[in-house]
């Protein structure tokens, strides 16, 4: 773009009497007072000192940040105001660059590239080898991804529960047949695996509640009215932590999936699609609650080869 192509619609005005903003003389058209910019800069001056002092005196975040904000706002206001004042000074216009106007250049470029390609691909065999070797090289680098982590193997399918694992509470205290009264619940783990994310269960004592439905094949899983469900949400894996006593449901705090404890922990509301897996329980000779085995299906959110 050349200078001749531009036109200045309004000539730059002589600069104002008092220096800084105000480029139109004291009372001319478009005259703007200079004091707001001055005030802004004074604010910056004071606030900068305030910032340093409050840092040294270890003042609160509110003071420190307040001063810093004021310092930035003051000078920002001054510049924006000043620039706005100047904006009216000069309006210029000019041409937009026009793409694809250069048909000749484009043709020449195309020819040149075409020639280069021909020079290179004249060696047919070499060209093919280049593409082949280059491709294999790039693909070979994919193995580096393997350094990032293991393939899933069985970790998504199994938990730390084994036949005979004793149930313990958060504090590691074994759960016995007398731990819970009917209608109450607690969170339990396999002994030796406290805090194991995928093994956490909700243990509930139903007692002899007539509304409780024992599912086919699970007749022996709930001795003396104890039932245990995985506490890992089948939606996206959050701990299903809220127990609603009245409705006898568990609610997940993440997306509010709701599981019916009276009916195999089937999802009754929210986005989960599968029930919470049930852990088969037993009571050993000492009266401790134990697992009959690991869960019979994978716990937690679904994955492709789970089915």
């Amino acid at each position: 773009m050349s200078d001749d192509a531009r036109q200045t619609h309004a000539a730059p005005a002589p600069s104002g009497e008092n220096g800084a903003p105000g480029g139109h003389g004291p009372r001319g058209p478009g005259w703007v007072p200079t004091w707001p910019a001055t005030v802004g800069l004074v604010v910056t001056l004071v606030a900068s000192v305030g910032f340093a002092v409050s840092f040294i005196r270890d003042a609160s975040t509110q003071w420190l940040g307040g001063f810093l904000a004021a310092a930035l706002l003051g000078i920002g206001l001054a510049l924006a105001y000043w620039g706005r004042d100047l904006a009216g000074d000069e309006v210029i216009s000019g041409p937009y660059p026009v793409p694809h106007e250069d048909a000749e250049g484009r043709a020449a470029l195309g020819d040149a590239l075409d020639q280069s390609v021909q020079v290179i691909t004249r060696r047919h065999f070499l060209t093919k080898m280049l593409v082949f070797a280059g491709g294999v090289f790039v693909l070979s680098q994919v193995v580096l991804l393997g350094a990032l982590g293991p393939r899933p193997k069985n970790s998504l399918r199994t938990t730390s529960w084994r036949a005979g694992s004793r149930l313990v509470t958060f504090d590691g205290v074994p759960v016995t047949r007398d731990t819970l009264a009917a209608g109450t619940f607690l969170v339990a783990f396999p002994e030796g695996h406290l805090d194991s994310a995928d093994s956490q269960i909700t243990l509930l004592r139903i007692g002899a509640d007539p509304h409780f439905k024992t599912l086919a094949g699970r007749e022996s899983w709930s001795p003396e009215g104890y039932v245990a469900y995985s506490r890992v949400c089948t939606h996206a894996g959050c701990p299903v932590a809220q127990y609603e006593d009245q409705a006898k449901v568990l609610v997940c705090p993440c997306h509010q999936s709701t599981f019916d404890l009276m009916n195999g922990a089937q999802p009754v509301a929210g986005p989960a699609g599968r029930p919470l897996p049930q852990l088969p329980l037993a009571i050993d000779a000492q009266g401790n609650l134990t697992a009959q085995s690991d869960f019979t299906v994978p716990v937690g959110p679904g994955f492709w080869d789970e089915g």
Binding site: G76, E90, F303
Partner: protein, 452 residues
């Protein structure tokens, strides 16, 4: 040529004394050359409109993020080694936690100005994404994406994706209960992808969730990889803008070949520097007075602790809403399982962003109009586009509301299942309704336009 003779000849050529500016110009020319090009560029034309400030807000947020991020990086420990906390926040005294979480507690309670910088960093991220989205809406509704700016539309959208993703990485770093829950859900979403999902999840996370190396893994992504990509794309975005120049709204003396505005130096440069400082000031004020992400209240992440009403940062709200609202349709196919979360969390984002990326081409195909343009359109000039846009953003807004459905339900005393069902209906019914209404209104306005 001797120094002295050069000076006098320069002085003669410009008929002026060697001021500091003139000396600087001389230094530049002798060391770098290109004086006449620079001279030209000082007069680069910037059209005067508030609408062009939206993209600048985004740029300035990035600057604030890098500046505050460097400060944070000096104190943050990307390690999940277990430590016992003994810092100034007494309620957590003696609690075992990761080194990462403990270092964020120290940043917030023991490092001077640490909490301020942390909160400014977080607020800048929230404002960044908001600015990008409003900027995108401006581009969309005024037709700024048309040729020759289609490539810049692609770059802008990529920026939105990268920035949102980097925000997600950022708030996963402190290893508090909320961020751990977010990572948990991210793992589950990855796992849900057919065929490659489970392997992808364990490879990316370094094992089955929860792993002990994930913070160390996302740290370089958050502070280096993505910021570098964002800086590169920003450079390309602004470079193209510089070459093609801003669009302009219709007005006297303006057409597709001629633009009108202020010269960059001094008018525009002064103003935009002022705007940058104003924005930095406003975000700093947010950081000073509006608490954000008080991680000490959430406690350290433990896979067995549950959050209460967990909420992601606002720009993830639409995804959260989709995940909450989509029904639990887990599909068994032969020996395989397609989990329900795959649809809202993987397919839906694809369905949202693919047409957005293709929009400039779809638009020119639909109108059979491929001219290159520089003058913008007013939104109602194109009733069809306005309807599509209004429907689209209505859809996203309903999803966003869905992301906080539990909060709304308890705040207004509504039943959550009823609200959820209402939202599930609204998300399907409302967008076409809003689109139709918008079309009718825009149509009438554009007819009036044509008459006058």
């Amino acid at each position: 040529m001797s120094e002295h003779r050069l000076k006098t000849s320069l002085g003669r050529a410009f008929g002026a004394a060697p001021t500091p500016a003139r000396r600087a110009a001389r230094w530049l020319d002798r060391n770098l050359g290109g004086s006449s090009i620079l001279r030209e560029e000082l007069r680069h034309i910037f059209p005067d409109s508030w609408a062009f400030f939206l993209g600048e807000i985004a740029l300035y947020c990035f600057i604030v993020l890098v500046a505050t991020g460097i400060f944070l990086a000096l104190f943050f420990h990307a390690s999940q080694a277990v430590v016992i906390y003994h810092g100034s926040y007494h309620p957590l005294s003696g609690v075992p936690m990761s080194d990462a979480y403990s270092s964020v507690l120290d940043l917030s309670w023991n490092v001077r100005a640490g909490l301020l910088i942390r909160q400014v960093h977080h607020w800048a991220a929230l404002v960044f994404v908001a600015a990008l989205i409003i900027h995108l809406m401006r581009m969309f509704f005024t037709g700024a994406y048309r040729r020759p700016r289609r490539i810049n539309w692609l770059i802008g959208l990529s920026l939105l994706l990268l920035v949102g993703f980097n925000g997600l990485m950022g708030y996963s770093l402190p290893d508090d209960l909320l961020s751990g829950t977010g990572l948990r859900i991210a793992f589950s979403i990855t796992e849900s992808i057919p065929f490659i999902g489970p392997t992808m999840a364990t490879v990316l996370f370094g094992g089955d969730f929860p792993t002990t190396g994930i913070i160390a893994r996302i740290y370089p992504v958050h502070i280096f990889l993505l910021p570098a990509a964002i800086a590169g794309l920003l450079g390309a975005h602004l470079g193209l803008l510089w070459l093609q120049r801003h669009t302009e709204f219709p007005g006297p003396g303006r057409d597709d070949r001629t633009m009108v505005g202020s010269p960059m130096v001094p008018q525009y440069a002064l103003r935009t520097t002022g705007y940058f400082l104003l924005l930095a000031g406003v975000i700093t004020a947010f950081g000073a007075w509006l608490q954000i992400n008080p991680v000490w209240l959430y406690g350290p992440f433990r896979a067995t602790d549950a959050t209460t009403s967990a909420q992601p940062d606002w720009y993830m709200g639409w995804l959260e809403g989709a995940v909450r609202m989509f029904p639990g349709w887990d599909i068994q196919i032969g020996g395989f399982l397609l989990p329900a979360i795959f649809w809202p969390a993987v397919v839906l984002p694809g369905l949202i962003f693919t047409p957005l990326f293709l929009w400039p081409w779809l638009d020119s195909l639909a109108l059979r109009d491929n001219r290159f343009v520089n003058v913008l359109q007013y939104p109602s000039q194109r009733p069809g586009r306005m309807a599509v846009g209004a429907g689209f953003f209505t859809f996203l807004t309903v999803l966003l509301v869905g992301g906080g459905d539990d909060v709304f339900a308890s705040a207004f005393g509504w039943s959550l299942p009823v609200l959820l069902r209402a939202l599930q209906i609204l998300v399907i019914v409302l967008p076409p309704l809003v689109a139709a209404l918008t079309y009718a209104i825009a149509r009438r306005r554009s007819e009036r336009w044509l008459v006058s």
